[in-house]
């Protein structure tokens, strides 16, 4: 019991993220990067940006999933070790947004991967992204 509590606590306090652009217009990516700058200082919550999906716990996805990126997104997700979460940043990642119905787009991130949290906004503000990550972590407790 107590071991489980400690492990959950550690997972909540140390989410390492990897960022993937599955076809966004880049505005969402810039907001994700802005959220990682010293101004917002996400290391307060233990969030670190990792280069390798093997190290990461949270896959931060931005943009609709294009047909080209679909397989790559899946590969990256499979390279991460359990427990892993997917965060959809921006309206596009949540529902394909303005690109919905486009010939090269297969929809939001949830058409390919199980998404744990959606952060709306076009683009989503850094505060919203941090809030989304914190809410995702709080939901781990339950």
């Amino acid at each position: 019991m107590i071991v489980d509590r400690i492990v959950t606590w550690a997972r909540m306090k140390s989410p390492w993220i990897v960022h993937f652009n599955s076809g966004a217009c880049n505005a969402c990516d810039i907001e994700v990067l802005a959220a990682l700058t010293p101004r917002y200082d996400v290391e307060r919550f233990g969030i670190l940006l990792k280069g390798s999906p093997r190290h990461a716990d949270v896959l931060v996805c931005s943009g609709p999933v294009t047909l080209q990126q679909k397989e790559r997104l899946k590969t990256i997700y499979e390279q991460m070790s359990e427990p892993k979460f997917v965060l959809a940043v921006g309206t596009c990642a949540s529902s394909a947004g303005v690109f919905n119905g486009c010939y090269g787009v297969c929809g939001g991130v949830d058409t390919v991967l199980p998404v744990s949290a959606y952060i709306p906004g076009c683009p989503a503000r850094p505060e919203a992204i941090i809030d989304g990550v914190v809410k995702l972590l709080k939901s781990l407790k339950k």
């Binding site: 140390s14 200082d41 990792k50 280069g51 390798s52 390279q79 070790s81 427990p83």
Partner: protein, 313 residues
């Protein structure tokens, strides 16, 4: 037998060294954050990272050599922790001193670097192989200045054991002033040893994903991170023992507090270097080490030889 077990498990073995290395990592990260005008991580951050990583699922890549992949992190941690036994902490003698243990400690500190190289190599992924080759290239660049900078004080003290060096400078504290170039060289070379900016070329995450550790995850990554932290403690202790002759052999508690202040000061200097400098390219790093650091380290050896000759007459 009981005492040996106590030494291995509690003090100065895994528990003591583990706590100390977590404190060291936290200090380093917090200082780094404060120097960048950030708030920085909370005090339990390294512990949370360690627990989280060790409870994660562990994936061994199909193309990797499974046995080596699993064994290497343990080698790194074991050799880094063993090096700690031969360095004086509060008194001028270490726990198990013997003559020439300076050389042994330096080689024990090389073993983790070699395991990083092998780890990258046996992961057989493109990025980790590039990272391993960079680790090796870097090793040849910083090792010589680091060794020479630490051998200078040994020449002056006429003793090749760290305990001997520490007791010599404890008796003649002013002699330590001759070793300031060596201190500077070893601080910079230690950044290469610990693979931190400006020498974090082997795991440059903006160029080669995760460098040597690209394929590592779960508890193996936790062990590697732990061994880097232990290495940080060992390097800080080594620099503190050789270059800062402040010991109180009579009083262990005061001596231990002084020891903590000393290593935190060394970690502070290392953190300032890491924050202030940006990453170099590998060939810039090699030419910097050979053109600037190595001559400075030679100068240190020269100064010590001259001082020793003058003193002898």
């Amino acid at each position: 037998m009981g005492i040996a077990l106590f030494d291995i498990i509690v003090f100065p073995g895994f528990i003591f060294l583990g706590i100390l290395s977590l404190v060291a990592e936290f200090t380093d990260r917090k200082l780094n954050a404060r120097l960048q005008n950030r708030v920085g991580p909370p005090w339990y951050q390294p512990l949370a990272d360690f627990i989280k990583l060790s409870t994660k699922e562990t994936i061994v890549p199909e193309s990797a050599s499974s046995r080596m992949f699993r064994a290497l992190p343990l080698f790194a941690l074991a050799s880094a922790s063993t090096a700690f036994l031969y360095i004086p902490i509060w008194s001028t003698t270490s726990l198990f001193p013997f003559s020439c243990d300076l050389i042994v400690v330096l080689y024990l500190l090389t073993v983790p670097t070699l395991t990083f190289f092998l780890a990258g190599w046996f992961s057989s992924s493109l990025y980790s192989e590039i990272g391993s080759i960079r680790t090796m290239t870097q090793l040849f660049a910083y090792e010589v200045p680091l060794y020479m900078a630490l051998l200078g004080p040994a020449i002056l003290a006429d003793n090749w054991s760290i305990s001997g060096i520490a007791s010599y400078y404890y008796i003649h504290p002013l002699m330590a002033l001759f070793n300031i170039p060596g201190l500077l060289v070893s601080l910079v070379a230690a950044q290469g040893k610990l693979e931190r900016a400006p020498f974090d070329i082997p795991d440059a995450e903006t160029e080669i994903v995760g460098g040597t550790f690209t394929e590592y995850n779960g508890r193996f990554l936790a062990f590697f991170r732990m061994s880097i932290d232990v290495e940080l403690v060992v390097v800080a202790t080594l620099i503190a023992a050789v270059f800062f002759p402040l010991f109180t052999p009579a009083n262990a508690i005061v001596g231990f507090l002084i020891y903590l202040v000393k290593i935190l000061f060394v970690i502070f200097l290392l953190a300032v270097l890491r924050t202030a400098l940006a990453r170099l390219r590998i060939e810039q790093m090699v030419s910097f080490c050979w053109r600037i650091l190595a001559p400075l380290a030679l100068l240190q050896v020269l100064i010590d030889l001259i001082v020793k000759g003058v003193l002898a007459h």
